[in-house]
Symmetry: C3
Subunit: 247 residues, 3 copies
């Protein structure tokens, strides 16, 4: 059983954060809320989404897992005007999700969860640096790096107490330094890792420009980024595996 | 002889309603105003446009029929700013239409009307149901149906006093019900017909979101939709032939 | 040595006026400011750009010539918000230009100036007519002409004291007449020349709609167009060779 009412904006933001990495996903339902964990086919980028029951206008479930085509569901939710409510009602027998918004009813066929790539474990890493940064600054760094290269180094200089971004192209380079003044917060430690820009660009699409993003970095380790949405009732964690440094 | 001045907005709306179905058309001129009737090459969708002389700032003609390339004429009219006036002046000898707006003169070669597909007769059908609906609701129904299918059923349930829309896809379905409260007016009768979504999407493009659209429906019969524009001085009727129900 | 600070808007406008004609260019630096001269590969359209030192927040150079990839530089400058300042700093040893905006540093590899097409001489022509016209009117003429033809005639009728534009297509024609009332200023003389519309469309892209453009025209002679930007501290001259009249 699953029956819920939620604002289209909240549901849309939740779906967007997952759909930048995968087309289909398992949605876990329990009384606390809904969670989605997914990893891209190459096992490089992972997402962990939590949308707590308090993010919903009403929320009832006795638990379960459903398989969802994200594009379809996003298209339907995208038809709603901002602030409109979306009603979700699971039909367990037919394995269909009834979605209604303002008189419009959409019957979405669910996917067998067993046919969907297994959910990843997000490893509990002990990363040396923690940076709290505005979403807009991540966007700026990613956009600039994309002009010159297809990979990007993220690092922290503990002496200078700076977070930095490096992208080296064949002829041109991009460099961005943000110190304590420019950041929301910084817990410095030796850290530098190289990442595929494609994945970071995808994740960046789902990060609100005004979000406070907490970034955890290490030495040639994955980066973790987390941020809240829906006034704190929604939470996204991205994890991106490093590329091997070529030098 | 044909000499007229009309606002670019009015002329643009008139042309748009026809150009969604055909590229070329005959324009009939008489002292009452201008009329265009056209049917698409597959004989599925028809349009009947009336723009009365009172829609013009000035209007003079002694009658006649001209053949027009709609894309060309729309491009020219599209150059005008909102509220700007377009001057039309027919040169009978050269069979060219002189169009001027704000100092710019465009000479449009007309098409021999005999080379254009014959104008259809819009049959006088006795349809059982009449629905008066906002253009925005048609847009919503068409957009949602388009997510799942390439055809759409429009119907009326006389007992429930509801107008409904059904689209059945391979896996997903869309359903919309609008009762008296949601509609502007309803004269219910048994009615349900299936239509090609492509045609309805084209017609929908030309229906203003804030228009009151009168829709006449029957049992496996064509649908008629009409609406006014230019403050009532312009009137469009669309007629769309049904598809054969597959079940 | 070259070290300067300039608003992104001013630098962007300067680069745009050149990049509509060429991809790479030589930038001449001296204490008066920066100048760029370039001609397109077919030797049909030329540009002469001057951006005086007073257009910059700060400007220091001991002279020199650098070769620049315009697309790259435009992309970087395009990342700035309106009103933001761009810092430019030339590293003579590495032949790289350091560009920084709001903490972001971009290192642009310069091009060997000797590998770039030679700068043209803009001939000092004695043209019979001078028209001062709003950029918006050039845009209107070019857009309308483009509907019917790939070339455009610009002329002056000294008796009627009118500037006119003619474009003749296979079936349709466009004509625009602007008299003293419509123009900012007119010094009439016999003038009519035919031009390639493609070039004029490119130049038109870089002409601000609210610019006062001075156009010099002759009988089957090149047209010169000049306008100021950056509150008079920037100046662009375009010159476009005529096409041979086909009749």
């Amino acid at each position: 059983m699953f029956k819920a009412i939620v604002s289209a904006d909240t549901l849309g933001a939740a779906l967007d954060s997952v759909s930048v990495l995968v087309d289909e996903c398992k949605v876990r339902l329990d009384e606390e809320g809904l969670t989605i964990r997914a990893v891209d086919p190459a096992n490089v980028g992972m997402v962990d989404l939590e949308l707590s029951a308090s993010a919903f206008e009403s929320y009832e479930t006795d638990g379960g897992v459903i398989g969802v085509n994200l594009d379809r569901l996003e298209d339907i939710v995208g038809m709603a005007d901002s602030g409109q409510l979306v009603h979700l009602d699971l039909d367990e027998e037919t394995r269909k999700l009834h979605i209604s918004l303002d008189g419009l009813e959409y019957t979405l066929a669910l996917i067998d969860p067993d046919s969907i790539r297994q959910e990843p474990d997000l490893p509990d890493l002990d990363l040396s640096s923690e940076i709290v940064i505005e979403g807009a600054d991540i966007d700026r760094a990613v956009t600039a790096a994309d002009m010159v290269s297809d990979h990007i180094a993220l690092g922290v200089d503990p002496d200078a107490e700076e977070f930095y971004v490096d992208a080296e192209g064949d002829t041109d380079d991009v460099h961005l330094e943000l110190d304590r003044e420019d950041l929301i917060d910084l817990t410095p430690g030796e850290a530098r890792s190289l990442f595929s820009l494609d994945y970071l660009k995808d994740m960046n699409k789902a990060i609100p420009k005004d979000a406070e993003v907490t970034m955890e970095l290490g030495e040639e380790f994955p980066v973790k980024m987390h941020f809240d949405f829906a006034e704190g009732d929604g939470h996204v964690t991205y994890m991106l595996a490093p590329r091997i440094q070529s030098d």
